[in-house]
Subunit: 334 residues, 2 copies
């Protein structure tokens, strides 16, 4: 293991130690939500439950609740809401896979590959629906409204991404508008919900929401970098998905901006080529190197700006963990 | 116009007269929900708003509220919830079209035909999300829970339909389990929400919910019959969609049950043939005639059983209209 991997493993262990009971409650709730009396639904649910990854959104929610001083009797509600944000995330993964026509997700075949497109679309809807339903069982209409607002913006972000691609937009403004929706919103609302259930003031709820949003942007840029640098073996999903789908991610936009006229032409030519192997050529050409470095710098800056939002909270183990999560989100290897 | 068309037009006019203000409020709310600052989202939204049809779910909700004696100041909330159920329905249409790979919906090209699959999947999600968000703005967590429970079951019904098809199930029990989910739930919850906002007792809410559920089954069977009998010109959507997708609908199940061994073999052979023209042959062969008649009878029986649920409500114009809607749902021509 590298140094960074060792430290990451330690961080994970510390989080698990701190949140042990809460995480067990989230796992139980998710298991309950993934059970169905219908054999077919159960089959698909069991398959999808294998996609479970870092669960960063539930962790953010639970840690945000802790730094806000959540009382013992609100912990159950926090665990339910943590399960809700994870299910919404899972729903978007299932739909993303059908959209990108991906084969793999966390080393497991995607739903539309294992069954068909129909099953992917409907199972994603089912997860969305179960998530909203579960949120409503808390009896907190305002939490439902916040979740709905976040998913509205998430979907808008994803739709704007299509619009930007159809226009072959190379504007960073368009890129950040997309990311602000498709990734930042669910991170932000996870932190806000945690703060809310933890009893934080409106002002501190906004601070944690801002923390989550900035962290989400850092996380997405790191994802964009990984898509261009990592292999399917390490990420467990198809590599160069963005390239294959002609998505203008930050490393590419920066490579275009920083490159000379000739480099720009070559990048564009390979990027929009109908020959899929050209996108592999682009990935391996070194043409994107400066763009990757510049994007990585921006990613780290967003993570730092996120951490600054935590200053108003008293020093605590949980605040320290939130800071570490932000740091590691900018230095991901999967 | 035929007699039935004339009477249908009159019924529509009576409903419009009775619910004029409410329907205007629903239209306004839908227009508001279909507006977006994003140009691309707005484009798709405008296109999808042209799918709007009979709006039977909002009508059921509003009429259920009326027979329950809704007070003037609750009317606004009823209109919002009516917009919610219509948006959920619209979301399922957008996703159904991509699943069925349909070309037409209400004489307009489907979203994935006009744009692409990605846009269909995401715009459907967007509509779901906006619907849940709008429901939450009423501040009524229990309404959100009821809506979530209904959509859970709707999705389960649709997933069970895939399961049944993969097994080539010819069981009516499986068929009704699917329909009970995919169509009946949204009808039932529309009526229940109307009753709830109208101030009906728990018992009367359940009666109206039962009315809606039975009506939904009648509506779905009528839909199954239309799929086999009507042309794309009259319905405005692809005809024989169910056949093309090898879906075992009630007319087919009944044709199999009522036919002799030889007929059954021919029907099965044509139904599961990989040659798409064989499904057209089946449709035009007359082999399904007895099945269609038997299914139509069941449809009418469900509509009658639905109407019986209304007996506990005092006689009123609105109750009479609910009865008529049930009657016409069993005798649809589009």
């Amino acid at each position: 293991m590298t140094v960074i991997e060792t430290t990451r493993a330690r961080l994970k262990q510390r989080i698990v130690d701190v949140l042990a009971d809460d995480l067990a409650a989230v796992r139980e709730e998710l298991a309950r939500q993934f059970r169905s009396p219908s054999m077919f639904v159960q089959d698909v649910a069991e398959h999808v439950s294998r996609f479970q990854g870092k669960q960063i959104r539930p962790l953010l929610l639970l840690l945000s609740a802790r730094v806000s001083g959540i009382s013992q009797h609100e912990r159950r509600r926090a665990a339910v809401l943590a399960a809700v944000v994870e299910m919404i995330h899972a729903a978007t993964l299932v739909h993303d896979d059908v959209i990108d026509d991906s084969d793999l997700r966390r080393h497991v075949s995607t739903v539309h590959r294992r069954w068909n497109t129909e099953t992917s679309v409907l199972f994603g809807d089912y997860l969305f629906s179960r998530a909203f339903h579960l949120a409503a069982t808390t009896g907190d209409a305002e939490a439902c409204r916040l979740i709905g607002r976040a998913t509205n913006r998430t979907c808008e972000g994803e739709l704007n991404q299509i619009g930007a691609r159809l226009e072959q937009s190379v504007s960073e403004r368009d890129y950040f508008r997309v990311v602000q929706g498709k990734t930042a919103q669910l991170f932000a609302v996870s932190c806000r919900l945690g703060a809310r259930v933890g009893g934080a003031s409106e002002r501190l709820q906004s601070q944690l929401s801002l923390f989550g949003g900035r962290l989400g942007i850092a996380f997405q840029i790191a994802d964009d970098v990984l898509d261009l640098t990592e292999t399917a073996e390490s990420t467990g999903k198809d590599s160069a998905n963005d390239l294959a789908n002609h998505r203008m991610t930050l490393p590419i936009l920066r490579a275009l901006r920083l490159g000379g006229a000739e480099e720009r032409e070559r990048i564009r030519g390979l990027l929009f080529s109908a020959d899929a192997s050209d996108q592999r050529v682009l990935r391996e050409s070194g043409l994107l190197q400066r763009g990757l470095e510049s994007a990585q710098q921006s990613c780290e800056r967003f993570a730092e700006r996120a951490v600054r939002c935590l200053r108003q909270f008293p020093d605590s183990e949980e605040r320290r963990l939130l800071e570490l999560v932000a740091g590691y989100s900018a230095h991901r290897s999967e």
